[in-house]
Subunit: 253 residues, 4 copies
Amino acid sequence: MSRVDLNADMGESFGPWKMGDDASLLKIITSANIACGFHAGDPDVMAQTMALAAENGVGIGAHPGFPDLQGFGRRNMKVPHDSLRNLVRYQLGAARGMAAAVGTKVRHLKLHGALANMCSADIGMARACYQGALDVDPDIIIMVLAVTKQEEAVRDLGCRWVGEIFADRAYNDDGTLVDRSLPGAVIHDPEVAGPRILNMVREGAIITESGKRLETSIDTICLHGDGPTAVQIAGSVRKHLIDGGIEVTQFLR
Amino acid sequence: MSRVDLNADMGESFGPWKMGDDASLLKIITSANIACGFHAGDPDVMAQTMALAAENGVGIGAHPGFPDLQGFGRRNMKVPHDSLRNLVRYQLGAARGMAAAVGTKVRHLKLHGALANMCSADIGMARACYQGALDVDPDIIIMVLAVTKQEEAVRDLGCRWVGEIFADRAYNDDGTLVDRSLPGAVIHDPEVAGPRILNMVREGAIITESGKRLETSIDTICLHGDGPTAVQIAGSVRKHLIDGGIEVTQFLR
Amino acid sequence: MSRVDLNADMGESFGPWKMGDDASLLKIITSANIACGFHAGDPDVMAQTMALAAENGVGIGAHPGFPDLQGFGRRNMKVPHDSLRNLVRYQLGAARGMAAAVGTKVRHLKLHGALANMCSADIGMARACYQGALDVDPDIIIMVLAVTKQEEAVRDLGCRWVGEIFADRAYNDDGTLVDRSLPGAVIHDPEVAGPRILNMVREGAIITESGKRLETSIDTICLHGDGPTAVQIAGSVRKHLIDGGIEVTQFLR
Amino acid sequence: MSRVDLNADMGESFGPWKMGDDASLLKIITSANIACGFHAGDPDVMAQTMALAAENGVGIGAHPGFPDLQGFGRRNMKVPHDSLRNLVRYQLGAARGMAAAVGTKVRHLKLHGALANMCSADIGMARACYQGALDVDPDIIIMVLAVTKQEEAVRDLGCRWVGEIFADRAYNDDGTLVDRSLPGAVIHDPEVAGPRILNMVREGAIITESGKRLETSIDTICLHGDGPTAVQIAGSVRKHLIDGGIEVTQFLR
């Protein structure tokens, strides 16, 4: 039977400020990408989120980002490669420490926000970040945006990795995302999102807006925790996959 | 033969700002307490300092502090015990990640600044911090200020620990430090500091200003990196210990 | 006719994180205490909040706090008086700049969180903070917790000030607040809060739990924006005051 | 008689970390660009630096930068124009508050580091920043890098401004700086720097490496505080200007 993992970002609260509905998403997903304190999350939030993920049997990932709390790690920053490598090492180390403290483990790493976006287009940046992660844990599984420079980087590095596609975003024929400003770029209707993802998983390929097939390793589906229909989309994707005979479970590598 | 360790705080630069003469101190000391990014240090500084310490055969310790860069972790903060525990977990985790990345290990932990001072007087705080460290690494060696609540806390916890005295501070009969505002509180003369510490190590006791003996475990001597005669004091202490037949080497536990 | 002002803290969002229902409260209050970026608020949030307050005809105050975003300025910090003075100067300056930029003015200042609490009990700290505000604007109106060291400090300084009481907190006979852990310390019922405050404003005195009268200058009532019944309490207080013949309007000094 | 101003960045210490030799430079320069706490400087450093500048009769400028302490504001960040405008408003406001508190005034504004570099090439960014400054103080004098988009922006805005050239950098024929990696890009020899600047001021034009004249408004010369010969270059420039009959004094507008 085919299998696929469902992942979502979480642990994005900070101090007194709450974000997201982690408890609900943890019932749906199989892997959690947990913020590491640079763009969101703080040591208390990390401890609570990791403990909750572990209780739900959800795999734990470090989700490092730029050191930019106000911008939520969504503003591009030009950081030298050595510093990128060190900031990933630091955040992954912190996440591993916190995971050990609550009796669990970090098994994967996924880049956040602008750092992820820049690494999708810049293989040198992607390699610096992923090398930083591998320096800390050579067995870590890197979660990459399929069909981007992120994927090229992990192939070059020869490390363990899984490929990810978005549940709610339309794709261009070159594998990039359709610009958010264009109609249809973001899928809001749960009844559209579910069958669409089932189809891609069955095909083993991204189906672009034009209908083109981009074969890739669809190991995990990225679900979002924000937006008015986010939890419904997540639930719909999960249901359609299971009803379609796909096993929804943590990725293995 | 008797043995003792020499420790100093380092890695206290941040971004473009330099602090301390780490390279010189690393020739003298046997254990380095390395800032973890909350009161000083950043991922780049941590990586460089740990690599340099490892090259010099110096043991590496995590040196967590309050999240207060402007105050250099020297301003008391009232932080709930759970948060203290988490902030130590986070900083130790980050340090362990960085150490692994540069091919070395964190073997001890020492609290910094106001966090250390408050824990010297408050056993509950000390326990929360040390428990956080043990949650991440049950084998970590905790470096405590001898004859303070820090020492009581590690005895209660039953963990591995070493006791520390200051090379350049006079002691009261209750084991507290003579207030800095009083004459003789701080020893500036290297020719005084060296023989004084040799004597205490031989005696296995702090000798207070009044001449009283406070028996304790003198496993390591804290040297400072700042101040006009800091490096000379450090050198003098090392020389007097060696000339006096004491082996200067990393503590074992 | 008697008059009184209603104030509330706002502008406490930060970056992507929202806090409070500023738009609703601005319909009820007459003075807004706006966070200045150290414990909450950022330049974007400040600009938006000040513009919205000005549109609603609500008086604008700077609400400086400790530099502690994670702790939301609620954790006591031991900061030297000179630094306190400078951090108030800085935050008030920033608030004045932002107010000028959106075409309005800062007319009052109120301390936030742990900084306010510590200044309620420590006249030296209160004087340092208020002196910092007066250094920037000698005409600023200082909003103080009535019958505390804050009030003593402004009386000593001889500056313009207004006295504040809480809409939803019970008072001890010495003017301190009943500890939150005790029953009745916090008033949750809007139908209790409204008449109670009307009575105090008419009496020109805090009425303590035991029934004792503490005469003071009740110029403004502090309303909270959080809590399940916060907006209802705010509305009830406003309604009872107006129905009771009290003019609800910005304080004058 | 011709006149010119000499400016330098200062107040770039932070907390326990010192940077630059502000006291020496203040004997040489006529205008100081003082960091505002986002990339360097803190409220204590700002107060001390402004007081010292005022004592030396040196004109005070706000020197806002990106919110990036670790990167010292030297890392490009992609910040929306509205946020740029607000972060300049905030920092200028803070600087004005601090200046008022120590009995002086902010008369000019100059952008720092990566923010300045990006605004040299992007007129939209420059306009957003300068508009933010003018929102707070319509009379502020904007210090721009001559012959860049910064200059175009102030011309468009119709505000008060002065043009700046570097004492120690070679220029390309299009007015950009020769890349630091090329020979001769940075002038280290005080005996070269002095006559070179005197010549440009007399000519009223940047003289490029190739000898081309770029006519512009040379109102102020930027001197650096760091580098092995920085203070000597500063002194040499000042001496050669004065000996050459140029009045070294604060710019007027």
